[in-house]
């Protein structure tokens, strides 16, 4: 698990030459599926029932389907920033970030699981714990992807522009990922259905606005 971070220079160098980018992207995808799936199984065990299998699928799906939807925009924005990266390199750079995310997530899993399983079953506290774990892991992943982006470009102005692009694109990925995660809920409840009906609750942003409104104006209750 630590080898991603120990051998980052070799990884970035291999991505930079481009020859091994496709093979590396495939390998990293496999690891992302494996690690995120493992995390999903533990959440699923907490929820119980079918959710064990569902969460196993849902977690890797959220990370990778979001990438699939937003990869084109990164490729085009990078090209406008002056990068000469192939599709495989573009996707591989993001995958280094995702792999860093799931690695950190897996490292946090023992603590998260301990909190989830040891106390009284409180749905909202469980959700909160997982959101915090994802936020920490996502932040580390974004930092790592920035590092990979920086290592891809030799030319100073191009590197600066590509870092700016990556920063902006991370926001796009985050927004699409939030909606994707919102779409695939529930995660922590035992249900028969894989996901809720489409369109229920609109976008995640409206849900967050409603939640904030409820907390700030009407109070909990």
């Amino acid at each position: 698990m630590g080898s991603l971070f120990h051998h980052r220079e070799e990884l970035f160098a291999a991505l930079r030459t481009g020859a091994a980018a496709r093979a590396l992207a495939l390998r990293m995808t496999a690891y992302v599926v494996l690690f995120a799936g493992a995390y999903g199984v533990v959440i699923g065990i907490y929820a119980g029932g079918w959710q064990v299998g569902y969460d196993l699928v849902k977690l890797p799906w959220v990370l990778l389907a979001t990438l699939a939807l937003s990869a084109a925009s990164l490729y085009v924005l990078n090209a406008f920033a002056g990068a000469r990266m192939s599709w495989a390199q573009t996707i591989a750079v993001v995958l280094t970030g995702l792999l860093a995310t799931v690695t950190v997530l897996l490292a946090l899993l023992p603590v998260v699981a301990f909190i989830m399983f040891s106390g009284e079953r409180d749905y909202y506290f469980t959700v909160f714990t997982n959101v915090v774990a994802f936020a920490i892991a996502g932040w580390c992943g974004a930092r790592f992807a920035m590092e990979a982006t920086a290592a891809m470009h030799e030319d100073e102005p191009t590197r600066k522009r590509c870092l700016a692009v990556m920063r902006g694109w991370t926001a796009v990925y985050g927004l699409v990922g939030l909606q994707m995660a919102w779409l695939l809920r529930p995660y922590f409840r035992q249900t028969e259905v894989f996901i809720r009906p489409l369109g229920e609750g609109g976008t995640v942003f409206e849900a967050i606005a409603r939640l904030l409104w409820r907390v700030l104006v009407t109070g909990w209750s």
């Binding site: 939807l69 924005l77 000469r84 920035m146 030799e154 369109g199 976008t203």
Partner: protein, 274 residues
């Protein structure tokens, strides 16, 4: 020197980045790595549809080469036709993505309306840019100005195409969030427009390389972009609806774009009209 991790400025003799502590040697690319090597002129584009659409790749990767061709007045007719084709193909696809999510006749209308807005707005504003640039002494021919602006419009529609999957996802998964769709599309259009402007400015800089007229032309471009945005906003307002399933192609004339966007924003934030 710049930190490879956070992009902050690092003093030359420093061993670590003062912002994030990253060692300055780590992650530094070795000499001669193949990313970002100056691109050799690509092989000429072929005939046929694929060859014409390969302008997309050229506008993404070999912009300097395209602009140099425009400066030397090479293949201007072909560039103009191909840029128009790219604009139409990409914006038809984007319009289709939006139209499919709305449903009904809009599936058919939106793919017509989008290229219409982009192309006709440009045609309306093109004479202004040409005449004023000539007035300021830029010396560009009408053909050159046309090809530059057609290419900028193509860049806009390529950006739209790149965001089409994201737009589709939000429209498909939140079928009732009408206000959100409108704002999302406005944001994506604004971003795409910004890249189009970026291309236009870059092209003008290269076309006026080492000439005293460039600062004046640069200011003209700024004003012209505002003009294009206003005309484009009104044109797109004229052709609405885009996000409502209707039988009519366009609504009766009336109203204005800027008031409508403000109203949508206020309605969305205040929660009325959900």
């Amino acid at each position: 020197m710049t930190c490879v991790r956070c992009g902050a400025d690092v003093p030359e003799q420093a061993g670590f980045c003062p912002q994030c502590g990253q060692p300055v040697t780590a992650g530094k690319p070795p000499e001669g790595s193949p990313v970002n090597v100056p691109q050799a002129p690509p092989a000429p584009r072929r005939a046929g549809l694929a060859g014409r659409l390969s302008l997309i790749e050229w506008l993404l990767k070999y912009r300097a080469h395209v602009i140099q061709d425009i400066a030397d007045e090479r293949h201007l007719g072909r560039y103009a036709a191909d840029a128009l084709l790219v604009t139409v193909v990409c914006s038809v696809f984007y319009g289709f993505v939006v139209g499919v999510s709305v449903g009904g006749w809009q599936t058919l209308y939106d793919p017509i309306k989008l290229p219409w807005v982009l192309v006709f707005t440009l045609l309306l504003c093109l004479p202004t840019l040409y005449v004023f640039s000539a007035y300021l002494g830029s010396g560009l021919s009408l053909a050159q100005v046309s090809v530059v602006t057609f290419s900028a419009t193509a860049v806009v529609s390529i950006t739209l195409l790149a965001f089409a999957p994201v737009i589709w996802f939000f429209m498909f998964t939140a079928p009732d969030s009408h206000h959100f769709w409108v704002l999302l599309n406005v944001v994506v259009f604004a971003a795409a427009g910004a890249f189009g402007v970026g291309f236009l400015v870059r092209a003008m800089r290269q076309l006026h390389a080492q000439r005293a007229e460039f600062p004046k032309v640069r200011r003209l471009v700024n004003w012209w972009v505002v003009l294009y945005a206003v005309v484009g906003a009104q044109m797109s307002w004229l052709l609405r609806p885009y996000f409502t399933a209707t039988d009519v192609f366009i609504r009766p004339r009336g109203g204005n774009f800027f008031v409508a966007v403000l109203r949508t924003l206020i309605e969305w934030l205040s929660g009325r009209g959900w």
